[in-house]
């Protein structure tokens, strides 16, 4: 009899919350705060690895909170998909936290520790971690909503850190849009409960089959709209490039990596588990195409690297929606693989951008130049994830895109083939966008009176300490490891996708075991 790993599941939420309390209590003692946060995130990463192993070898790990059965209580479920998501998010969080710790007494501490009455960065980041994990492991809709609200509240604080006018202005758009989507989600939960009498995901997947198809379609559409706003799918994506670029580099990195992917995760979960009979595949395919194209066209038009990256973030959400909408096992597996790749790469790029800002004093390509000579290290650190993002072989971005294209061709409808063409075009345009940044910021000489070779004049520059270089480099290495380990990783993603398509493992784990702990 192997040991039971399910009791570890709640720790993934409890640990960061305890950490948040401790760091808030230790306000003003930066060393204690950092020690606690790092310990918590290292612990979470270790736990997530154990849970991934357990979920992969022994099936979904289920916890019935408080001993209530699935009909009335909260259920926490870690299946392969959830386990993959929590381990990637933990690793990314750890890297970002190390980066912000490594910044030392720099601009960031002035904002969070010096002038602010409370140093809230660490507590807010840990609450964000707890919220993200909650959404990944929750087994019912309302708990999912609470997880969303946890991570949103924490993100509001992080986005408006320091309370400068620019950040409050950018944050206002973000807060209003997020809350509106939350209310839509909440109303959808009310309607789901009215229609079926439950909000447990496993029970819902049984009961939704018994009610009229039109009602199910309405519920699905409302949930999709709520999640699509959070995931920044095209018609609802305008808020993202407006709000992300103003935040400090580590905050933007976390947001870019995790927040939109939480919406994507919720879409994968609900589309496969709840609504296999009333899916809006064609609608999603059109939305995916528009997200890709509009996003990448926006990215090309930008001079500022931060804004360019925010637009590529929107654009590549389209690839994920593409994988969901194709709906075959291979499409889902590719989407899951692509989520993992995209979380890592996008976070890495925003961290590297923080380095660029430190070396060059700006993130505007019209003011930058010659960075490849001034700091070859930053050049390499930017080049590798940028090529990965553009999908150059043999990087993991290429592998994920090939999987999606294969799934699209296998689907065979003209809309899917159009999507295949669109995704190839988007990849090429992504390459153009990052090459433009590379050419202007790293290779062009003597722009705006910058002297080559020496330190740049004007703006404020900071030395590159090991504290910020090492976490960024580590994340670049993780991105490369995704390429090297693509075989086993794709196998796990495929097994997760098979679970999702079958639905049986999830239902059996939640409903089959009788409910008692």
């Amino acid at each position: 009899m192997s040991p039971d790993y399910a009791p570890l599941v709640p720790l993934m939420v409890v640990l960061p919350l305890i950490g948040a309390g401790l760091t808030l209590a230790a306000a003003g003692r930066t060393v204690v705060q950092r020690a606690v946060s790092l310990t918590v995130l290292v612990g979470m990463t270790g736990l997530a690895a154990v849970l991934l192993w357990a979920a992969d070898t022994q099936g979904p790990q289920v916890v019935f909170v408080g001993g209530w059965t699935a009909t009335e209580g909260i259920v926490l479920v870690v299946d392969r998909l959830a386990a993959l998501m929590i381990i990637v998010s933990s690793v990314v969080m750890l890297a970002v936290l190390s980066y912000s710790v490594g910044q030392g007494a720099s601009s960031f501490d002035e904002e969070s520790d010096g002038h602010s009455p409370l140093p809230v960065f660490h507590p807010a980041l840990l609450v964000l971690a707890a919220g993200v994990t909650t959404t990944f492991i929750s087994g019912d809709l309302f708990h999912l909503y609470v997880g969303f609200e946890m991570l949103l509240s924490a993100s509001f604080v992080l986005l408006t850190l320091g309370g400068t006018v620019e950040r409050v202005r950018a944050g206002t758009t973000y807060v209003l849009v997020s809350l509106l989507s939350s209310v839509i989600f909440l109303a959808a939960i009310g309607l789901v409960y009215a229609a079926t009498g439950t909000i447990n995901l496993a029970l819902l997947s049984e009961r939704l089959g018994e009610i009229p198809l039109g009602t199910v379609a309405l519920l699905n559409l409302m949930l999709l709209i709520g999640f699509a706003v959070k995931a920044a799918v095209f018609p609802m994506s305008g808020w993202l490039p407006e709000s992300y670029p103003t935040a400090p580099a580590p905050v933007t990195a976390v947001f870019a990596g995790l927040l939109t992917k939480v919406g994507v995760y919720a879409m994968i979960r609900t589309q496969t588990l709840l609504f296999p009979q009333a899916r809006f595949d064609d609608l999603l395919l059109v939305a995916a195409l528009l997200t890709m194209i509009v996003g990448i066209l926006g990215a090309i038009a930008q001079d500022d690297i931060k804004r360019m990256l925010s637009f590529t973030l929107v654009s590549h959400i389209g690839f994920l929606i593409f994988g969901i909408a194709v709906g075959s096992t291979h499409g889902l597996a590719s989407a899951i693989f692509y989520v993992i790749h995209h979380i890592t790469v996008q976070t890495t790029l925003f961290l590297v951008l923080g380095l660029v800002e430190r070396v060059g004093g700006s993130s505007d390509t019209t003011k930058l130049g010659d960075l490849a000579r001034i700091s070859p290290v930053v050049g390499v650190l930017f080049f590798v994830p940028a090529m990965n993002l553009a999908g150059i072989p043999p990087f993991s971005g290429f592998l994920g895109k090939v999987g999606l294209v294969q799934a699209g061709v296998a689907e065979g409808s003209w809309l899917a083939l159009l999507l295949v063409a669109g995704s190839v075009l988007t990849s090429l345009l992504t390459l153009y966008a990052v090459a433009k940044v590379w050419g202007r910021a790293f290779w062009s000489e003597n722009v705006a009176g910058i002297t080559g070779g020496g330190p740049l004049r004007g703006g404020h520059h900071q030395a590159l300490e090991a504290g910020v270089l090492v976490p960024t480099a580590a994340l670049v290495v993780v991105g490369l490891a995704l390429t090297v380990l693509a075989g086993p990783l794709f196998d796990v993603a495929t097994r997760a996708a098979v679970d999702l398509t079958l639905r049986e493992p999830y239902l059996l784990a939640v409903l089959g075991s009788g409910g008692a702990p």
């Binding site: 509240s153 409960y193 009215a194």
Partner: protein, 110 residues
């Protein structure tokens, strides 16, 4: 009919307020919308006048459904906290809409 009409009036008022320009009005609009959503959830479980869901006081056949009430309680707390946060943001960023150009990183050529 009282509950659906109330939800409808709340939603209409919320949308009207959210289309206004001032931040405080938008916040009031969102608060009204949250109320509408809460009443919607309540109406999912408590469709008639029913007693409190306490086994010692009310029989099971007369009691209301406790689950939507628990949902609504949670949602109210969240809405309250977020409203406070938004009001703070309205104070810090006051009048930035009518007096300042948007600082979005784009250059505005005039």
């Amino acid at each position: 009919m009282i509950l659906p009409i109330t939800i409808g009036v709340l939603t209409a008022g919320a949308i009207y307020l959210m289309l206004q320009r001032g931040m405080v009005r938008i916040i009031f609009g969102l608060a009204l919308l949250a109320h509408a959503a809460n009443l919607l959830i309540l109406s999912a479980g408590v469709t008639a006048w029913r007693g409190e869901p306490l086994p010692s006081r009310t029989g099971v056949e007369d009691a209301g459904d406790p689950l939507p009430q628990a949902f609504v309680l949670t949602a109210i707390v969240i809405a309250l906290a977020v409203t406070v946060l938004m009001l703070a943001m309205a104070v810090i960023g006051h009048n930035d809409d009518t007096k300042r150009m948007p600082e979005t990183g784009e250059t505005h050529r005039r």
